[in-house]
Structure formats: structure tokens, C-alpha cells
Symmetry: C2
Subunit: 892 residues, 2 copies
């Protein structure tokens, strides 16, 4: 085991061993870039430290000693001596950067002797003593955890005594006195003297860095973020020869992105300060200058910086985020890492780097964080606006995008105000199908209950409207048209802004930015489409959604929910009548009317998706979902009871009785989907006939309609065959009636666990499968999403009992195993069976990768996630990039 | 294909080809018993008939013709002739008997000529003409479906004209006239002459039998009962030479069981009639005599019958149910089949037949219908009592046994009346944990809502109390202490009798019979225990239940539910306080009190099961189940609101708020089991500690306590490990505190689908698995049992969409597949892991057979089903008997 690598030795790709920072320093050194000499103590050494019960092994100290000697030779300086002293900085650096790790200590190696040496070699006593007092201050704070205020107070006292206002105005001798005072504070607080031996300083610093790896903040962060030892195991330590940006007017320090991380434009983006150290840029006491100013102020250095950026990009094939220091006219690089950037910049830089020949199209696709692409399709709150904004409350961001509008607490009012042009935010405890017209009229929806699959969430997502649900701290008083959060009271008419991405509700109207479907974005999608193997369809229930999906690149509709169509104001009444019908005849009569409406719906959506498949799902929810809410009804009844009984009251009571009859203990697992289709076959018959009629009438108009019909909640072959027989009969009737031989595929959802387990037999009877991963996940975990997301799931995530929310990313070991069992059995029974997925996972990159892996034919996602699905599909098809090669394999 | 077998040719074991009746006739003939000559037209011929579009193939007619010729030779009679005419009966007979099949036609072959021949050969003109008019009447009714009343009216008219009152008083010439009238009726109704050609009669009869196979009633019966073609495919036809029990005082007809089917006692049991035909016994115009009377009345024939019974039993190794006819002193057997008997008789005859050397112990076990054994452990309603009883309503029989008592509609009253010695039937819409004390005090429980896993059902079953749930036609008005069913109004205090087996509620007190755990029954159980491989444990929560289970043969407790213990009146209050606790400290304080109580509970049950394992399940239900029902609470609140606010009201409101906070949309898939254990670890800690303390204190008293601790609702390894860490810590603490090294196995339920899918990893961490097949079935089907059993499951069963109720018998393709996946993975990871099942399927014979097949170590069932489990376990271990051998392989 080699515990230490000099920068010229370590492999620039071995972040696991050298940490991210260390690997970067090695790479840059080996590229010939000006990095101050230094070395990395490996993560292996860190693990060794813990294996030795938190003792730095003697062998490591020996290695450190030898490495310092080597550094002395390289630099011509001497460790801890008056004679041109060697000073170093010590920085932690794990494979993944995380909070809670030890801050950098500068100027290590200074003591009562070498401070003089520094004064001599720099010709600047003030600088030398200021560096020394900084060391003591930092060392006390970082290594021993002493309250920094004690030192600040001492400085203040010195300034008062000397009647100056700025630190820099303190004279050499005052600084010297301050060093004395600092040492006293140190001794008092730590019950020991400040270590003036340079090697002792270094050993203490090393111990502190290693210890910070197991500090509470770092441990919790790793647990929360699933950073397991295979990702990062221990921290490395970077020991770097000090260079000084604060040595006068020919010195400076700065941070720079090689390209603009907000726009992706190809120009350096950053700040610098003349005569300053790194921390001064962040501290804010002096305002840094834009990097572009440097071109005039320090033209030579600017040119050097520009050349360096180019060299770095050409090496790392990624825009970089770097730290540099100019020490008396000498340019040094202190850090480089891949620049974090927003989705727009990611897209722009991908396109640019391809045209510059820096990377190929495949890598251009690979480097994009598909998740973030959704940003580009929704309005976003301008980041500048959030800082000073008042937060009203926080819920679950259930449908992304930003929206502002006036608070309205009832559906009728929201509809009328919205339709008359006011931007409205609808606020409810929860929503129900009959509220859907108000969704159309509102700019955004906010509820105090429910999770990401609550009615509000699903409907809003389908419409692409910003929505926040489960804001449980918001107490809504619909009667008085107010709501109260932790601190704020909202009245009807108050202006609010919703951030559907973060779930934050702001007071007032914040500045928002419009979405951009740029030419670059379209180019990237084009490349991705050419690469991906998995089909991408949309979950869309309306012609508008279908058109939007098509614009974003959908190759069809994978899930068209028919129940939504019943919620529009012209038909919800009819639907309720249908449920209330006392005889099959009465029900059929009403269904005939609904059939006309459904045929129109289907005609419109099939036309909008002409030439592409449209998978129509038969009615899924339990019937009682269409009846008024029981609790609301009881309240109303209580009020009505005071007045004389009327015929209307009697009617309402009857509806309520029926609702009670249909009510279920666990509606998620109750009388719904195909089970309703079996007990009331006339409903499914009506829907199937409507699809045929729509498709046939379109085909007679030479419009290429491609519907597929899908049965939800199937758990057994017998259930599917029951529906299949009805379908076969209707197809026969249609073919006779219209002399048409239109073929409409008939398939099943796989969302009941049992369906996955009997897929061999189901596949023989069905033309296609579509995984309903929302329900499948609920059933596999026995998690009711509405309950768990608001109750214990957050605690599970916090306690690391679950890695990722299984409703966002497919749970590979459980749900994924079922999908594999099912797909394998289905393909064995019918090799060409079409298998898709239409749960919300269809828009999640890691789920898409899994689907690609097990050979799913297509994913279906909400329109705004289509671009994500396309890029993620391409990434899955590409697989990971070949690792960047480095001359150094592991080290020497 | 040989379409016809004479009785001396056909194989007695080939019921598929020859039908049950035909095979029996062949077997008896070949045993040398006196069966009238005859032949069987095979089920193959029936299938051929359908394959030929319902035409009797000419080849078959040819075969029939030849067979009749053969019969003429055998009997010396002539077909359709004056000269000693050959007459036959025609009977249908499939492999399985079913309703809707054609009735027997007697006297076929009679016509205007042969009737004279019969008169001559019998020397009885009256008999001959009476036989002829019977043929026409039966033929018209059975083959052509003509209303029988037309013929009855003609007979009545003849009797009036002749001024007689009995059919038998009609003279020869009147009967001859009647034959003429009957022919006219026949011709008028059918638009054709009555066929006087014997072969034409036979052909028409054959067609009618074949047609009846596809008759509506038969088809529906087969669909409902899952009789698929591999079980029975087509019907055979038996053509038998007529013999006559109505030829005078030396003739008779009768039906006899070789042993008493009600008691199993070894004596002939049946009835006979002198000078009568078979149908007269059933018709009820004359009262048949007990078969014992025959010993004096016809001693020779009685001896012949007795010898025949013995010979049949020794051949079939089963008590038989036979039909015989004595024709002028000649004894004939017309049918034999295995006797149907009740559980007591089944047990008694098994024991007797073994001691008689007729069968071995293995076959004695095999022949028992394990399902029925439960009859022997519960009171049953005397069958004589139900006939005249008034049915109040019918619900779901959720816990077997019979109980009577006075109707009581509230819990407090039921408790006080029950405790003061009145037999009480508790009637509620549904029950909740706080009602449990009333269960103890009641003789039976009746609810209008819920299914077989509703609270009432599960609790009652655990206590062995008769219970009927989901009696949805019963409208309960708790306020006025009445309930109304379809027809009856029940008032508090009305006497009712519940039949927990059938779900029927009767008015008044019906006679019931006490259970019998006879010596014979114990002997059978002893034999079964020696044979079975699968262990049998009990689901028991109380020391009483444990003792009962032990008495019935349980080898341990496979499921001890700890939540039940919180429902007793001395602790439910504490438990509610615990839920209401605002801080962890307060909660811990209350838990400390509960811990003392739990330790006592555990001590008692472990002591009752000394030396045998007791698997204790940690708290399973969601916390809100312990709080008052929301709807009830609202009502109460509404009443209370009228009076002045009190502190009590405020407290109740707070409880209600908490209940609302904890309420769930789908409680079945919500915050329960291990999920509660994770969010409130102090609850599980308390329970684990209580188990350790109880076991250690017992072991110090030299009582061999063998607890196991089981975690419910586990879906992931992380969840289990979270609890395992707590368990390990407590074990450590206990071992230090008590210097005890007691080992308590720590395992997991497998009731969440995901757990079954990650069993390889779970098995590494758990010492045992126990399948919770109730929940696993719900999750696999996405069926909420409470909802589906009362809503669509009956319709599913009726429409043949599901073969058996998956909550009663394990669904092999779905749930069974998961169990196999899980068991296989678990054993691969840890070969000696103990795998049990503690769902209600543990008491179901076919589920036990499946468990045996996949190598489950034990099943756990409610105490009253332990004997079923033992016998079913033995049957599974034995496998099917070797088929009875027959000299004739297939036919000739």
C-alpha cells in the first residue's frame, strides 16, 4: 500500500483513491499546467486510520515526513525554518464532495521562527505576521473547534486600541501582539500550547481531516444520499505548497467557469480579486470583479487563464469550474472540476462541443442530466426573485412549473374568475373529478392533502399545470375563504406564486421565466431519437395534450385514460345518472348518450395522433369516485336537514345512499377496473364500441387512426378472456355493420401482481402488455401511495430504509423482478408481444434505463417528460462512456 | 372406438368412459352379483354425437341393434314382439352425477303388440297395460318435454268416470282406454304419432339422453362447479333389461346404505316397499318400511341383501349406497355407489373398516373429507330443526358452529347481560377492538358489514365463537334497538339462532347438537400425526385458546397476535393514551405500564404451551384502529355539541383529531406493522423486552418457554434489519441484566409481495419465515378482502371467473408461485431456515397439500381447524391411493 502520491504520480481518473480534488490536481500537473507542488494522502490511508482505532500509523507519519523532505527539495524551501520556509495548505477531498468535511487550513508550517523567514523571503513583515495570525485562528477553529468569535473580538479590540477600522490597517507590531493574544486564547481553550512544530501542526491537521469523515453531518449526508462505500470510502488529504494571491498588486485570486453555466455560451464566467486570498472572494467584504475586467487589468494573466481553460476543456471534455491564484505575477491552478450547469447550458454546451470537435454526439447525449430537461418545458421562477420572497408554506411539488395567481378557495369561483381572464390559484383540501373544469380555468393548484398520485396531482400533471399537494401545514377554511400556514394568513384574492418543482408556495407575484424549446434542444432530441431503442409515447387524455406530446416528440399515446372524459361538465351529470340507474335497461339508455360523447372524444384524439398508436384504457376508477364525497355530503345534508324536505333533498339522499353502498374500505384494491367491466359489462361494451366507431369513421375519411384498447386491473386470464369475448363480439358486429375490417389491438395492463405471475397465459390471449408501475409498486410494497407519501415515506428516506422513492424510480429488486418475470414469460409465450410501461416511471431516467435493459418496447410518460424519456432512452442504449484514460494507472 | 360395452365387458374403474352408474353395473356383474343383463353406450359415443352435429351416427345405431340382439339371446326374450317381449330401461350416467340430466325411462320396448306379450308372460293384464301407459307418460315428459299434468288430468277423468279413488283401482280395459287417450295427447302435443317401434323408441331415448348433457341446467352446474372435460366429458347411457318390483307380494324395491351414514354404525340402513317400482319410494304416496323390517317379512331376501352388501364393501372398500329390486322372488342390483356420510360416520367407518381388515390405516386416512371434521368440534344445528324454522336473513358464515341467544344491539348491554348469565347474540353493523370484551360475553356475533377477515370474523374465529358477518340485507337501527331483514323485524331480547357454517340466521331457539371428540376421532388423529410430514401449529392469542389447541393436537403456536392483548378492558384505555402521547417520553412512560401487562400475557401463554414453540407477532394493525370509529364519533360529537362544551368534550375532540390525522385512504396498505415499529420503535422495543422478560423468568422457574418473535408487514431487508438491530441490542441488555443466554428466534412474516421477491436476502437476516397468506393474497390479487367478498367475488364465482375463493384455498398460480419463489430463494440462502404459514389457509386441506408439496415446515391454523390440518397433512404425505384394479382394463 502506497499511502501518498505526488501530483506527478497519481492517476487523474482514480477519484476513489485520491479523492476528486486530488485526482484533479494530479491530472493538471501531468498536463503540464502550473499547479504548486504537493501530494495526496490516499483514502486507503484514511481507512487505515480507522482500522487503527483513529491513530495515524507511524508508517504513515514516516511517509509524510519523507514527502515533506521531497517537497523541500522541489521547492528549495525548508520546513518550519527561518530559512525560506516551506508552507502548505491542507484540504480534505473525498471521491464525492459532501458537507461537514474539514475546511482548508492555509499557511501551515508557520511558527515563531519561520514567520521571520517568510517576512524576509517576501520582504513583507505585515504579510508574514498576518499569515501567522490567520493560521492560528483557522487552526483553532477547524482542528480544535474553538469559537471563532473569540479571535474576532481580539481583532476588534486591537483595532479600537489602534483607532483603525480595517484589518489591513493594523501594523506589523500589532499583528505580532495579536499572534500572542491568539496563542493565549488557544491555550486557554484547548489546555495546551499552540503547536509551533510544523510537523506536529501537520499531524494534527491530518487527524482532523480523517476525523471529519465520520463527523455527524457527513455521516447523515452520506446516509441520506445513499453514498455507500463503493461510491466513496474515506477522504483523501491534499497537501499543497502555499502560493499567495495577497502578496500585492501583482497578485490575485479567482474562480472561473470555462463556459457560462447559466446560458452555456462560450465565454469565461467568474470573478477575481487583486491582492486577496481565496476566502476573500466568498467573504463578501470586498466586491470581486467580473473576470472580463481582467482582460484589461492583467492582460497577460488573462491570456494565460484563457489558454488554460481551453487546455482543461480539451482534456476533460467538459466545461470546468476552476480556482486560480496569481502569486506575484506567477499563475497557479489550485482546483478544477466539471462545471455544474442548468439544463439550457447543458444543451447549449453539448451542441457547441460537438461542433468544436471536442466530443462526439454520443458523449453529447451522455453528459446531459435528463432529469433537468423538464426545466426547459415549464416556466421557472427566476432565481433572483426567490431570495427576498416570503415563503407561505411548503408541500410536495407534484406537477412542475411556476405559476402565479390570486388565491381562490372554491371551484365555482375559480372557474368563473379564470374564464373571465384572472390568473387563479385554486386552493382546496383535496380535489375530486367534478372539480376538473376549475383545473382548466386555474393557473395552478394547491392542496393540503394527498401525495403525488392524488387526484389533483395526476390531473394537473396531465394538463401540465403547476401543482403543489400535501401542504399539510396549511389549514384551509373554505367557509371563510382563508387559509393559515405556519406564519402567514391567506385571504381570497391574495397573490401567490407556486413553484411546482420544489413545492414551495410564495407570497406575491415573483418573476418567472418562459420555457425554451430551442433549436439546440431540438437538435439534441433528434440525435437522441436516432440512438435510442426504446419507444417513447405519451400519457395524454385530450387532443390538446396529444398535440403537445407530438410536438415534444411522442411516437404515440401509451395511456389515454377514458374516465377523464367523463369529468367534463357536460357529462359528469350523465355519468352519475348512469351509476344511479336502477336497471340495466336504464343504464344502457344513458350509456347510449355517453357513447356519442365518447366517440367524439376518441375521434378527436385519434385524429390528433394520426398515424401513431393510441392506447385507450377502459374505465379504471371505482364508480364511487364519481359520486360526491361522503364527508362533504354529510355536512351539506346537516344544513339541508334544517329546512323542509324537498324532492331535491330526497334525490341527494339517494345519491348518498348509493355512494355509501359503493364505498370501500380499501378503494385501491376494490371494485374497479376490469372488475367493474365484469359486473357492469355494458360500460365497457359502450367504450369498446365507441373506439371502433371512431376509428372506422376516421378511416372512411382516409385518416389513419391507430387505436389500441387496454383493460385495466386484470389479475387473471379468466377476467381478460371475459372482456376479450365481448371485444370479439363487438368487432364482429362492427365488421358486419360497417363492412370494415379495421384491426384494433386488444391488450392488458400488468398492474396487479398476479397478472405478472400468470403472464405466460395472459400473453397467449393479449396482443400487448402495458405495465402500470404505479399500482404495481403499491401492490408490491403494500404501500398505499396516498397514505405513505405523506406519512412514513419521508421518515423511511431519512432513516435510509429505502434508497429512492419507489414511486419515482422503479424498485428494481421488487417491482423490477416482477416486470422481468412477466416480460420473460410473455415473450416465451408470444415472442413478438408488444410490452410497454405507462406508469409515471415512464418519465424517469433510471427507470427508463431499467426498461431498456429488460427489453421493454416503449415507455409512456406525461407530455412534458417526453424529452427526458427520449434522452434517457438514448443514454440507456449508449451505456456508460469508456472511462477517460490517464497515463498513470493507479499511481506510480 | 368401441361404442358399446356389455356389463360383463366394461372396466369397473373406467368412470370416464362408462359413467359412474355404468362402471358400477359392470363391476357388479363381473363380481357375479345379480345385475339384469344390459350394456353401456360410452361417453365417447356421446362426444361422437356432438361431433356429428347432434346426429346419432348410423354406425352407433348398428351397434345398438346388434347389442339388442345379443340381449335377446341372453334373456330369451324378443325385442318389440308379442312373444315374451324384451323391455329395457334407459338411464343417463356421466362420470360425475349432476342435475339436469335425463330421468330414467322404464318399460321401453312396449307397444300395441308387446303389451299383449307382457300380459301373457306375466299373466297380469293390469300390470301390462299399466306399464304401457307409464311408458307413454314418461316418454312424453322426458323425451319430448310435454307437460305431465295433461296425463294426470286424463287419469283423474278416468277415475271420476269409474268412480274410483286410486290409480291401482282402474281396471284393465280402462287402462287400455287410457293408453289410447295418452297416445292422442302425445300426438296433439308433438304433432306426431307415439312411436310404437321399439327401436325407434330407443333411438329417440338415446338422442334425448345425449341432448340432456348440453341442457342449460347441466351446463351451468358444470360451469359453477368447475367440472371441466378432464373430469367429465359427455354422458354414457345404460340400457338395462327391465325387472319389476311391482309384480305382486313377492316383489319389492328398495335403497340401502351398507352402514349408517349418520353414525357410521355397522348395520344396513335404508327403506323398501313391497310390490312397488323405484320411483314409488321417493314419491311418498306409500310410506316405505325400514330395511330392518325386511328381516322378518322377507328373511331370504334380507339374507341375500346382507351378503350382497358385505360382498360390495369388500370389493369397493367403502360403504355403499345401493338400489335393488326383487322381481317375483328374484333379487337384482340396479345401482351401487360410495355412500355419502357425515364426518362422525366417516371417522367411525374408517376405524371399523381397519379393524375389520377391510382397509389399512393409510386408506382409512385418505378416505376422510378433512374439511368436514370441523363439524365434530362445534355445536351444530340439528338438521331436523331447520326445516320448519323461520330464516331471518343470510350472511357470510365467518366462524363455524351454532349458537342461540337473545338479540342485543349494544356492546355494554351485551357485556353485562352475558356476564350475568344470559345467552346473548351481539348484533352490530361492524365491530371494533373496543368491542372485544362483549365478544367474550356473547354466544355469537352477527354483523351487517364486512367479510371473512373483518374484525368480527377474525376475533370470533380466534375465540371459536359462531359468527355471521356481512348480512347486508339486515338494516340495523341501534338507536331503537331493532333490526329489519327482508321480512322479519328483530327487537332486542328476541331469541335467535346462528349457523356459523352456512351463514343463516334463524328466529327462535333451534335444537343443536354438542360436539364430539370421540375416541375414534382421537385414534384417527393419532394415525394421521404419525404419517404427516408438515408440522401443525395453532393461531392462538390467549392461554385458553392455547390449551384448546394443544388438546386438539397443536404442536405449538404459529401465530400469537399481540394486538388482541391490548383490547382487553384493563388496557385499551392505556393504549389509547399511548397513541395520544405528545412526546416520546410520555409514550415510553405509558409503554412501561403496558409492558408489565404484556409480560404477564406472554408468561401465561408460554406456560400453556410449555415445551412447544410460540411465535409472537409484534403489533400489526395501524394505530388508528384502536381509536374510536370516525363516523360514530361524528354522530356523538353532533349530539354533544348541543350541550355546553366540557373538558371531556375537548378531550374527545382531540382524540378525534388524532384519529383523523392517522386515518388512511387504504388502511390495508398503510402505516402498520413494521412501519409503525420503525416510526415508533419504542412500541416494538417494549414488546420484544416483554417477551425476553417472560421467557427468562419462566426458564428460571424451570418452565421450558420457547418463544419466537416475528415482525409483520416486512417488505425490505432494511426494514427487517432495523428491527433486528433493536432485537440484538435488547438481547444483549437482557443477557447482561439477567445473566441468561436464552435464545429467541427472530423472524419475519412474508405477507408483502416484495418480501417474497427479496427472500434470498431476507433469509440471510431472519431465523424463520412465516407466510401471511391472507395479506399476501390481497396484495397479489389487489383484492381488499373486506370489499371484494361482499361486492364482486360472489359474482366472479358465479361467472366462473375464479375457481375457488382465494381467501379460502391458496391460489396456486399466483400466491403459490410467490410462495415457491420465496421458499426456494430462502432455502438456497439458508438451507435450514424454518418456513411456516400462518394465514387462514393453514386450516384448508388443499392449501395444506400445496404447502406439503413445496416443503413448508409447518402450517398454523385456528384451534378448531387443527384436526383438519393434521388429517390433511397426512393425506398430502400419503398422496393419492393406487387406483383400484379391475380385471377389465378398458373394456373387452
Amino acid at each position: 500500500m502506497k499511502p501518498i502520491y505526488f501530483f506527478e504520480e497519481g492517476s487523474g481518473t482514480n477519484r476513489q483513491l485520491l479523492g476528486g480534488k486530488g485526482a484533479g490536481l494530479c491530472e493538471m500537473t501531468q498536463m503540464g499546467l502550473p499547479v504548486p507542488p504537493g501530494f495526496v494522502i490516499t483514502t486507503e490511508a484514511c481507512r487505515q486510520y480507522y482500522a487503527s482505532d483513529r491513530k495515524v500509523p507511524a508508517s504513515l507519519l514516516e511517509h509524510v515526513k519523507n514527502s515533506i523532505s521531497k517537497l523541500e527539495k522541489k521547492t528549495g524551501k525548508t520546513w518550519g525554518s527561518r530559512n525560506n520556509p516551506l508552507l502548505v495548505s491542507v484540504r480534505s477531498g473525498a471521491a464525492i464532495s459532501m458537507p461537514g468535511m474539514m475546511d482548508t487550513i492555509l499557511n501551515l508550517g508557520l511558527n515563531d521562527e519561520s514567520v521571520d523567514g517568510l517576512a524576509i523571503s517576501s520582504g513583507n513583515r505585515h504579510f508574514a505576521w498576518d499569515s501567522y495570525r490567520r493560521l492560528i485562528q483557522l487552526f483553532a477553529k477547524v482542528v480544535f473547534g474553538i469559537d471563532g468569535q473569540l479571535f474576532e473580538d481580539a481583532i476588534e479590540a486591537a483595532k479600537r486600541a489602534n483607532k483603525v477600522t480595517l484589518d489591513s490597517e493594523l501594523g506589523d507590531s500589532t499583528l505580532k501582539q495579536l499572534v500572542g493574544t491568539f496563542k493565549e486564547i488557544f491555550a486557554k481553550q484547548t489546555k495546551r500550547e499552540f503547536p509551533t512544530n510544523a510537523s506536529e501542526q501537520l499531524e494534527l491537521a491530518i487527524t482532523a481531516v480523517f476525523d471529519s469523515w465520520m463527523g455527524e453531518r457527513a455521516v447523515i449526508y452520506r446516509e441520506k444520499n445513499g453514498i455507500t462505500p463503493d461510491i466513496a470510502d474515506g477522504t483523501a488529504i491534499n497537501v499543497v505548497t502555499m502560493v499567495f494571491g495577497n502578496r500585492g498588486g501583482n497578485s490575485a485570486t479567482g474562480v472561473v467557469f470555462t463556459r457560462n453555466p447559466g446560458t452555456g455560451l462560450k465565454h469565461m464566467f467568474g470573478e477575481y480579486l487583486v491582492n486577496a486570498q481565496g476566502e476573500d472572494i466568498v467573504a463578501g467584504a470586498r466586491t470581486p470583479k467580473q473576470i472580463s475586467v481582467m482582460r484589461k487589468e492583467m492582460p497577460k494573466m488573462y491570456a494565460k487563464l484563457e489558454a488554460t481553460c481551453k487546455q482543461l476543456e480539451s482534456n476533460f471534455k467538459e466545461p470546468q469550474d476552476i480556482e486560480f491564484t496569481i502569486d506575484d505575477g506567477n499563475f497557479y491552478l489550485l482546483q478544477t472540476r466539471n462545471a455544474k450547469m442548468n439544463a439550457a447550458a447543458m444543451v447549449k454546451t453539448s451542441i457547441d462541443m460537438v461542433s468544436e470537435g471536442l466530443i462526439g454526439r454520443e458523449d453529447a447525449i451522455r453528459r446531459i442530466d435528463a432529469h433537468n430537461l423538464e426545466q426547459l418545458l415549464h416556466r421557472t421562477i427566476d432565481s433572483s426573485a426567490t431570495r427576498s420572497a416570503t415563503k407561505v408554506t411548503t408541500g410536495i411539488g407534484a406537477s412542475p412549473g411556476a405559476a402565479h395567481g390570486v388565491a381562490v378557495f372554491d371551484v365555482a369561483r375559480a372557474t368563473s374568475m379564470g374564464e373571465s381572464g384572472t390568473s387563479v390559484i385554486l386552493i382546496r383540501d383535496e380535489t375530486r373529478p367534478e372539480d376538473v373544469p376549475a383545473f382548466f380555468a386555474s393557473a395552478g393548484i394547491l392542496t393540503s392533502r394527498g401525495g403525488k398520485t392524488s387526484h389533483a396531482a395526476v390531473v394537473a400533471r396531465g394538463m401540465g399545470k403547476p401543482c403543489i399537494v400535501g401542504a399539510s401545514n396549511l389549514k384551509i377554511h373554505a367557509d371563510s375563504r382563508t387559509a393559515t400556514s405556519e406564519s402567514v394568513k391567506i385571504r381570497e384574492g391574495d397573490m401567490l406564486t407556486l413553484d411546482g418543482n420544489t413545492g414551495i408556495v410564495y407570497a406575491d407575484q415573483l418573476k418567472t421565466n418562459a420555457p425554451k424549446m430551442t433549436r439546440d434542444f431540438k437538435t439534441i432530441l433528434g440525435w437522441a431519437r436516432a440512438i435510442k431503442k426504446t419507444g417513447v409515447r405519451a400519457n395524454a387524455d385530450t387532443p390538446d395534450a396529444a398535440r403537445l406530446a407530438r410536438e415534444f416528440g411522442a411516437e404515440g399515446i401509451g395511456l389515454c385514460r377514458t374516465e377523464r372524459m367523463f369529468n367534463e361538465s357536460d357529462r359528469i351529470g350523465l355519468f352519475v345518472d348512469m351509476i344511479m340507474a336502477k336497471t340495466t335497461e336504464k343504464r344502457k339508455e344513458i350509456l347510449a348518450k355517453l357513447e356519442t360523447l365518447q366517440r367524439n372524444d376518441f375521434t378527436k384524439i385519434l385524429r390528433a395522433m394520426e398515424g401513431r398508436p393510441v392506447t385507450i384504457r377502459l374505465l379504471d376508477p371505482p364508480l364511487h369516485e364519481f359520486l360526491p364525497n361522503r364527508a362533504e355530503f354529510s355536512e351539506r345534508l346537516a344544513k339541508l336537514a334544517k329546512i323542509k324536505a324537498t324532492k331535491k333533498l330526497e334525490q341527494e339522499k339517494e345519491v348518498q345512499r348509493r355512494a355509501l353502498e359503493l364505498a370501500e374500505v380499501n378503494p385501491m384494491m376494490g371494485h374497479r377496473g376490469v372488475r367493474v367491466g365484469i359486473t357492469f359489462p355494458e360500460i365497457y361494451e359502450m367504450q369498446i364500441r365507441a373506439v371502433f366507431e371512431a376509428a372506422i369513421s376516421l378511416s372512411k375519411k382516409k385518416v389513419r387512426a391507430m387505436p389500441q384498447i387496454m383493460v385495466p386491473q386484470v389479475g387473471s386470464v379468466a377476467e381478460f378472456m371475459f372482456m376479450r369475448n365481448i371485444y370479439d363480439r363487438i368487432r364482429e358486429e362492427m365488421s358486419k355493420k360497417h363492412k370494415s375490417n379495421i384491426s384494433i389491438a386488444f391488450g392488458t395492463m400488468i398492474e396487479v401482481v398476479r397478472a405478472a405471475l400468470v403472464s405466460d397465459k395472459l400473453a397467449k390471449a393479449a396482443e400487448f402488455f402495458s405495465f402500470g408501475t404505479n399500482d404495481l409498486t403499491q401492490a408490491t410494497f403494500s404501500f398505499s401511495r396516498e397514505d405513505v407519501e405523506s406519512k412514513f415515506l419521508p421518515e423511511y428516506m431519512a432513516k435510509d430504509l429505502i434508497e429512492t422513492n419507489p414511486f419515482q424510480s422503479i424498485d428494481v429488486s421488487g417491482v423490477g423482478a416482477l416486470m422481468q418475470i412477466s416480460t420473460k414469460a410473455a415473450r416465451a409465450a408470444k415472442s413478438n408481444i408488444e410490452v410497454g410501461i405507462c406508469g409515471e416511471h415512464g418519465g424517469d431516467p433510471s427507470s427508463i434505463a431499467f426498461c431498456h435493459k429488460i427489453g421493454i418496447n416503449y415507455v409512456s410518460a406525461s407530455p412534458h417528460r417526453i424529452p427526458i424519456a427520449i434522452v434517457a432512452g438514448a443514454q440507456a442504449a449508449l451505456g456508460p462512456a469508456k472511462p477517460r484514460t490517464s497515463k498513470k494507472k493507479r499511481g506510480a
